[in-house]
Symmetry: C2
Subunit: 420 residues, 2 copies
């Protein structure tokens, strides 16, 4: 007998309230030459899971990196043999292209899933991803979606990977022409920052990663900004000690923000560390991605710093100090795309359209981070376009002024040299 439904009412059943709390603990390690035979860090971290050994691992590696570290795959094979009591390389490493190409080809996700399947990787085995942020994002997405999450060890090989994206809780690939359309929140099992990989970077990539450190220093930690300022020449000269310290502190601040934001998986209105990023996103697009993300972020920081100054939030001295630091680090702070179509804020080629896109990205209300002072950000919910126009002009003047000064100082030093 089936009850006649439409006339029926439910018993008085109160909703059941569910509360699920999940904790993720992981460490970010710092080392040099992680796959050197006698470097036990990686083996020890896997040994430390307290489960039956040896554990299966598979490896996804950035093909761009292999051009500079041709012996890497051989080194990994030797390493796993040397530590055979702890690790078994359960399948041939997969090479994927570096940069956005890694995130634009959905077949790569499938290829990694296939490797996980064919090598019998389970939720207690490991996928080790080695490469730049894009490769880690791709491999992380594949790892997070196989068996509802296999353990991921990230070995970021770029400054940006080591101090920012590679230590966080996100992954993603592009789809439908949209950045990170597909992805999950999935903390890694561990992160290993291997200093030695930084020597493979071009000057542009070395520098790009510094922009996120400047960003987080400016809104969170005045002492850290002071460190960057006083070491800006050394950083430009690729001093490895200065870079290590920069990466360490930046990673620490990034991790702290995730842990203490109260909303690490961004389900509510939690704010990521996105000072300077509204303009950066738009400038990357307006320049057809000829600007690297970090290069665009540096310009975005310069712009919002200038706007903060014009709003009276920071002093002229602070403004100059920040912009000078960025220039000393080697960043270009002005591109012509800044002033395109400014009088048509709705135009797709207008920087100001980026404000609208940023608001939509946040899901409704506009929230911009500005500077209250060096080391402290402040959130505002509106943008004064005419003041932003002034900020763009002022930024342009500053850059031209610096340029003139450096030419005249170059000339005068040439003159004085020729006199001696």
């Amino acid at each position: 007998m089936v009850a006649s439904i439409p006339e029926r009412t439910t018993l008085n059943l109160q909703p059941i309230q569910q509360h699920v709390s999940v904790s993720f603990d992981y460490k970010v390690y710092f080392t040099n030459e992680v796959f050197k035979l006698k470097n036990h860090m990686l083996a020890q971290l896997i040994a430390g899971d307290g489960e039956q050994k040896p554990k299966k691992i598979v490896v996804v590696v950035d093909a761009g990196l292999l051009e500079f570290r041709r012996s890497l795959l051989r080194q990994i094979a030797l390493y796993t043999k040397y530590h055979a009591d702890i690790l078994t390389l359960a399948g041939d490493p997969i090479k994927v292209p570096g940069g956005e190409a890694a995130k634009n080809n959905p077949k790569l996700v499938k290829q990694i899933h296939k490797l996980i399947d064919s090598s019998g990787i389970c939720r207690h085995s490991y996928l080790i991803a080695i490469g730049g942020g894009a490769v880690l994002d791709l491999a992380g997405f594949a790892a997070a979606t196989a068996h509802r999450g296999v353990r991921l060890i990230r070995i970021p090989t770029t400054v940006l990977g080591q101090n920012d994206s590679g230590v966080g809780v996100k992954n993603g690939i592009n789809a439908f022409g949209k950045k990170n359309f597909l992805g999950t929140f999935a903390p890694p099992y561990a992160v290993v920052n291997d200093l030695s990989f930084l020597s493979t970077l071009s000057d542009r990539d070395w520098r790009s990663g510094i922009a996120e450190a400047v960003k987080v220093a400016l809104i969170k930690d005045a002492d850290f900004f002071e460190f960057i300022r006083t070491n800006s020449e050394a950083l430009r000269r690729r001093d490895m000690d200065a870079m290590q310290q920069l990466i360490y502190r930046c990673a620490q601040l990034h991790l702290q923000h995730i842990a203490t934001s109260g909303d690490p998986f961004e389900m509510g209105s939690s704010r990521p560390l996105d000072f300077g990023h509204w303009a950066a996103h738009k400038l990357e697009q307006l320049t057809n991605y000829s600007l690297r993300h970090g290069e665009a972020v540096a310009i975005g920081i310069a712009l919002d710093t200038t706007y903060s100054y014009l709003l009276g939030k920071i002093s002229r001295l602070e403004w100059q100090c920040i912009l000078n630091t960025l220039v000393t680090l080697g960043f270009v702070l002005y591109v012509p795309e800044l002033e395109e179509k400014l009088s048509q804020p709705e135009h797709s080629r207008s920087l100001f359209r980026g404000l609208q896109e940023f608001r939509e990205h946040l899901g409704g209300e506009l929230t911009l981070t500005l500077l209250q002072r060096i080391g402290q950000g402040i959130e505002v919910h509106q943008a004064d376009l005419s003041l932003y126009k002034q900020a763009i002009s002022l930024l342009q003047e500053f850059v031209e002024d610096r340029h003139r000064k450096s030419i005249s100082s170059f000339l005068s030093s040439s003159v004085s040299e020729s006199l001696t």
Copy 2:
């Protein structure tokens, strides 16, 4: 200047320990006719997010359900129009096949992602999935991986969906011939259990969902088992009040287990509620899935109950009481596949091979749940195959005995009827 790396050591940088804690809160609602115009529950639950209205929604619906509820899509359209201040239907609903077919076609994931993209669904919009467990698993996976998770409202339409799979934190699709190879842990935004959908179920599906309730009652809640036992005739007759109470309590126990297990995303060695499931998984496979999951679980419960009895853990009375209840509910407790190739435990057609596969699935150590008494499970880490053989024989005897008795009682009642 690039530092010469191999000779270099890192500064003494200690690992950074990260601790991320994430909370998920959601409600499981009970209602009748959720899309009736004057039923405000769904609209209210979306209104309750405190964000700017109206909110965009998209719908994924089980095509199998539409055969029994032909007006459903029209009803949904009317409902969204009626509640237009709160909801906007941002794209045409997607119909997907019901049952495992939903989980075997990766193009369906893509189709849902496309809908999410084209209708501008963001992390603050809603995907509403309506259907059986497989459809919810598919839609949940698509929702969890778009924009790193759009809000998912599940409306399970089967007993199994409403009391078990549909209220939990998992999703998944099949790949490489493996069940749930792809999936994530992703709690829903809300679950709405709509009683009216249960009338669309076949008797087999109605009954199948009861098996998981028997399972959780046996290992967790003696009072609940007593409720099922005393209502087993009514449940077989499809009494809706009894079913509502069964679903409510089963969902509650399932949710409690997830919330209090200490490991809701099963990262460590957390144990799901899998009493009777090792044999069930294998029997589903051995019968080429002609057994429904719940039907196989009922046999698995009967087998492990019998084994628990032979081990001396439960009394003969308890054993009989459990098996009689399952029979009264309408379950078949014996299939010939139980005794195939038992003397060759490694054979792929042997039930005992299922023990090995279960151990591998758990990632190393075998853990079986048995019964300590009605209402309390106990975990063991070994299986006595010769005792299991005896259990299979005893189960067969029990079933034959019941069969003989029911024939003789039928004959005697026929005789007594013909005498009157």
